[in-house]
């Protein structure tokens, strides 16, 4: 029981940290709510899907920005999709970067776009790490016989 309580406390701290830093927002909690007996790995599935999608999108964006004549509309479309996905899983910081990215696209500012692309990659990586940590914690809690607390 001690271990479980410890893990739970750690979990709470971690989620608080993530919230504070803006990595995750309420939408993530909403997603968590959808997880129940029928779909126990719902969140993990969605998150994995997200990261797969993001890989593809990022590659598309990079390729488009490397062209001689940059098709900003295409880049914009990708960013739009990326933004939507981020919003759904509650990745707040990512979403904000996407908003900036879209502005640069509209202004057809190549420098800005490239900068944003770099930012997006970094944020994505950071989020991925954070979520992996979180999921590992949760697995440990479940393995130790406890139940994952409800995210507020």
């Amino acid at each position: 029981m001690d271990a479980v309580a410890q893990w739970r406390n750690q979990w709470f701290d971690y989620t608080h940290y993530l919230r504070r830093e803006g990595f995750l927002d309420d939408q993530f909690a909403q997603l968590k709510k959808l997880q129940d007996e029928n779909s126990p790995d719902f969140v993990v599935e969605v998150v994995s899907l997200f990261f797969q999608d993001s890989e593809k999108l990022l590659n598309n964006m990079a390729r488009a920005l490397e062209q001689n004549v940059v098709d900003f509309k295409q880049v914009d479309a990708c960013v739009h999709q990326f933004k939507g996905s981020s919003a759904w899983i509650g990745a707040m910081r990512l979403k904000n970067v996407c908003i900036n990215f879209r502005n640069y696209c509209e202004a057809q500012n190549l420098e800005g776009c490239l900068g944003c692309l770099q930012q997006v990659r970094q944020e994505c990586l950071a989020l991925k790490n954070n979520l992996e940590n979180l999921f590992r914690l949760e697995q440990q809690i479940v393995a130790a016989g406890g139940s994952i607390p409800v995210m507020e």
Binding site: D26, Q27, Q30, L31, K33, L34, D36, N38, S39, F42, E45, V46, L49, F50, Q52, D53, A77, H80, Q81, K83, G84, S85, A87, W88, I89, G90, V150, E152
Partner: protein, 741 residues
């Protein structure tokens, strides 16, 4: 005559005599011949002469006489026998005619004499006729003057004009020197000189009314000759030598509206007279003639009538002006009242909106708070907060409803609802409170009560809840029974509701709800006051009620809107109460349709079957987005299909799908275009699935586009569980949701 005998005329002695005879005979003959000529001439000239043959005879006589005398001229000297014979013949003829004439004249002369008398007689007659003619002419002229004067007087309704015209015209017709009108003053004790003919503005010259001369005039119906020296007649400064003309005065009755009775002519018991004084020119030796006096009398009467007309007109004008003023004032007042009501309504609406917004925030957040993990004390605190805020919200609604009810601007929301479940809900709401007070609440629904009905569910619930709530409130112990049944026509007519005329029809039925309690009862005298707003009975039992006094008043108004009746009976204090509510509801066509259960709002989030089996289609090309939406809808128990391309979408969509969620921000697929195609595919509204757009930004353009293509709703991504739940229930209930953020 000397026949054959030649006697020598003794010329020298009788010659002069002879000569005279000769000359005379000649002249006689001449005269005798000229007289007939003259006669003929003059008779010819005259038109009428009845005795022509007499003339002839007379003419013959004279001619013969003349002839005789003429022939006589020849007999003075020696003359032949022929002359003698002629002379004899002439003389014979003359004798004959003369005798005849003489005889005839015997007959004629009396005739001629009588002609003379006749002539005299006719002359007299003619003179008499002339006189009469003169009289008639004068009278006719007088009549003309009167008519003209009357016309002048009557052509105006202005009092001053009438009087002035009278004086002027009278002065002109009768060529008066002065004409004056004395009017009684307000006090009635004096006569004031009001109008004169020649002075423009007579200064207020008054005489006391009780002078004998004035009394004499007032008591007389017609004109009265007065002395030129009397005070009323002394209008012009008499310059010494003048002999003032005759003065006549007449009274002019001043009539008022009150003098004219409907059936009687105006009675001249009015006592108010004006005095008209007329003066003939001085030094003229004219006298007042009868016809002139008659004229004056007639004029005086006409003036009286004209004045009374003018008075009547003035009064009616005043009345009409007053009415107009009042109308304008009333109009203004009405407009002010309308403005005030509008202002009050605006104020109430704004205030209510302002009050409701934070109210809703409090209620929403408290209910959310309730769903989280709380300690027992915290939970109780939150529950109290929730209860109080609900009460406050209800009160705010009540106030707004009441003001709208008063204006008649409240309209019922008619929907089809489940009657049975309404009462069950009321029962379950009331049971906790009642059980705290150890009261039992029994609900009896009649067997023939329809399950579904058409009416205003919310307000019916409000009314029933209020009535039952009151029953619970005022009952300390015992039981409360709620009986619901369909009212039959005999039971509808109640002597207590004299103006309630229920009309039976096939589409409607009357619902009768009877709530009996064994509580403190009501004093029969207080019963009428129950339904007046803000009136509270002062009995001890109600001291702790804490009600605003609005409840029953609002209920009554709702019930009236529902064409029903509500009343309370009580046998007295301590003997309990029975409240009866009768409302008119419509029959519902859908008797056995299984409606989707109403998702209760205060539930924890572990219940799955919110919308069991609801067929939903999701279209989104973004994998993550699609998964998240899928997860949401599966969590809420929907039967879900998801597609990611427009071809798949059009292939899969069918009538079975009740709701379609489509992302309208997809770069590759035009969601709006798809919506239009759906509309074209499913023309009938109840066959078509409801279309809901999912969008990342809720700007006006997006909203307009959504409305344009016929979307039933718009939701902002990302969506929370509660949001999705409420969206679905809203959609299913009302078939439209516009704007959920």
């Amino acid at each position: 005559m000397m026949e054959g005998c030649c006697i020598e005329p003794q010329w020298p002695a009788d010659e002069l005599l002879m000569k005279y005879q000769y000359i005379s005979d000649f002249f006689i003959a001449l005269a005798y011949f000229s007289i007939p000529l003259e006669l003929i001439y003059f008779v010819k000239k005259s038109a009428v002469f009845p005795y022509k043959w007499v003339l002839v005879q007379f003419g013959a006589f004279i001619v013969l006489c003349g002839a005789t005398h003429l022939i006589n001229l020849w007999t003075f000297s020696v003359h032949s026998r022929t002359v003698a014979i002629v002379m004899a013949t002439a003389k014979v003829f003359t004798a004959a005619v003369s005798c005849a004439t003489a005889l005839m004249l015997v007959h004629i002369i009396p005739d001629l004499l009588s002609v003379k008398t006749r002539e005299l007689f006719l002359k007299n007659k003619a003179a008499e006729l002339d006189r009469e003619m003169g009289l008639i002419r004068t009278q006719e002229e007088t009549g003309r003057h009167v008519r003209m004067l009357t016309h002048e007087i009557r052509s105006t309704l202005d009092r001053h004009t009438i009087l002035k015209t009278t004086l002027v015209e009278l002065g002109r017709i009768l060529t008066l020197e002065e004409c004056a009108l004395w009017m009684p003053t307000r006090t009635g004790l004096e006569l004031q000189l009001s109008y004169t003919l020649h002075q423009q503005n007579p200064v207020g010259y008054t005489v006391p009314i009780h002078l004998p001369v004035i009394n004499q005039v007032f008591n007389n119906n017609g004109t009265v000759k007065i002395s030129p020296n009397s005070p009323v007649a002394r209008l012009r400064p008499i310059a010494g030598k003048h002999i003032p003309g005759e003065v006549v005065a007449v009274r002019v009755p001043l009539l008022h509206l009150s003098n004219f009775q409907i059936n009687d002519w105006p009675e001249l018991s009015t006592k108010r007279y004006a005095l008209m004084v007329l003066m003939l020119p001085s030094d003229s030796a004219r006298q007042w003639h009868v016809h002139e006096l008659e004229l004056v009398e007639v004029v005086a009467d006409q003036v009286a009538v004209a004045l009374s007309h003018a008075a009547i007109l003035e009064e009616s004008r005043k009345a009409r002006d007053l009415l107009m003023e009042q109308n304008i004032a009333l109009d203004l007042a009405r407009r002010d009242a309308e403005i005030a009501i509008c202002a009050r309504n605006d104020f109430l609406a704004v205030m209510n909106h302002e009050m409701r917004t934070p109210m809703h925030a409090i209620i929403a957040l408290s209910s959310l708070l309730q769903e989280t993990e709380l300690t027992p004390e915290q939970r109780q605190m939150v529950e109290t907060i929730l209860k109080s805020s609900n009460l406050l919200a209800t009160l705010i609604n009540d106030v707004l409803d009441l003001s709208r009810l008063e204006d008649g601007s409240l309209q019922l929301d008619i929907t089809t609802f489940n009657l049975h479940s309404l009462f069950r809900e009321v029962h379950s709401l009331v049971k906790p409170v009642a059980s705290v007070k150890k009261l039992s609440v029994t609900l009896n629904l009649a067997a023939d009560l329809p399950v579904y009905a058409v009416g205003d569910e919310k307000r019916l619930m409000q009314t029933i809840l209020n009535v039952v709530g009151n029953a619970v409130k005022f009952t300390k112990e015992g039981n409360i029974s709620i009986a619901v049944f369909v009212a039959k026509s005999e039971s509808l007519r109640d002597f207590r509701a004299p103006d309630f005329f229920p009309v039976q029809s096939d589409n409607h039925f009357y619902l009768r709800v009877q709530v009996k309690d064994s509580g403190s009862g009501i004093n029969p005298q207080d019963i009428p006051k129950l339904f007046t707003k803000f009136a509270q009975t002062q009995s001890l039992a109600t001291r702790n009620s804490g009600g605003s006094g609005l409840g029953l008043a609002i209920c009554k108004r709702f019930v009236n809107l529902m064409e029903g009746h509500i009343w309370i009976e009580s046998d007295g204090l301590g003997k309990g109460c029975t409240a009866t509510v009768i409302v008119k509801l419509g029959y519902s066509e859908q008797s056995n349709e299984s409606k989707l259960p109403f998702a209760p709002k205060t539930q924890a989030n572990h219940v799955h079957s919110d919308f069991p089996g609801l067929k939903v289609l999701v279209m989104d090309d973004n994998g993550v987005s699609r998964s998240a939406t899928e997860g949401l809808l599966v969590h809420l128990g929907c039967d879900l299909t998801s597609v990611s391309s427009s071809e798949e979408f059009l292939r899969v969509i069918s009538q079975e799908h009740k709701v379609v969620f489509m992302d309208v921000c997809m770069p590759s697929i035009d969601g709006f275009e798809l919506a239009v195609q759906i509309h074209e595919k499913f023309t009938k509204r109840h066959e078509r699935p409801m279309l809901v757009a999912l969008t990342g930004n809720m700007d006006r353009m997006t909203k307009e586009n959504c409305m344009r293509v016929g979307m039933d709703g718009v939701i902002l991504k990302p969506v929370s569980v509660d949001k999705m739940r409420s969206v679905l229930s809203e959609l299913l209930e009302h078939r439209v949701l516009f704007e959920a953020m």
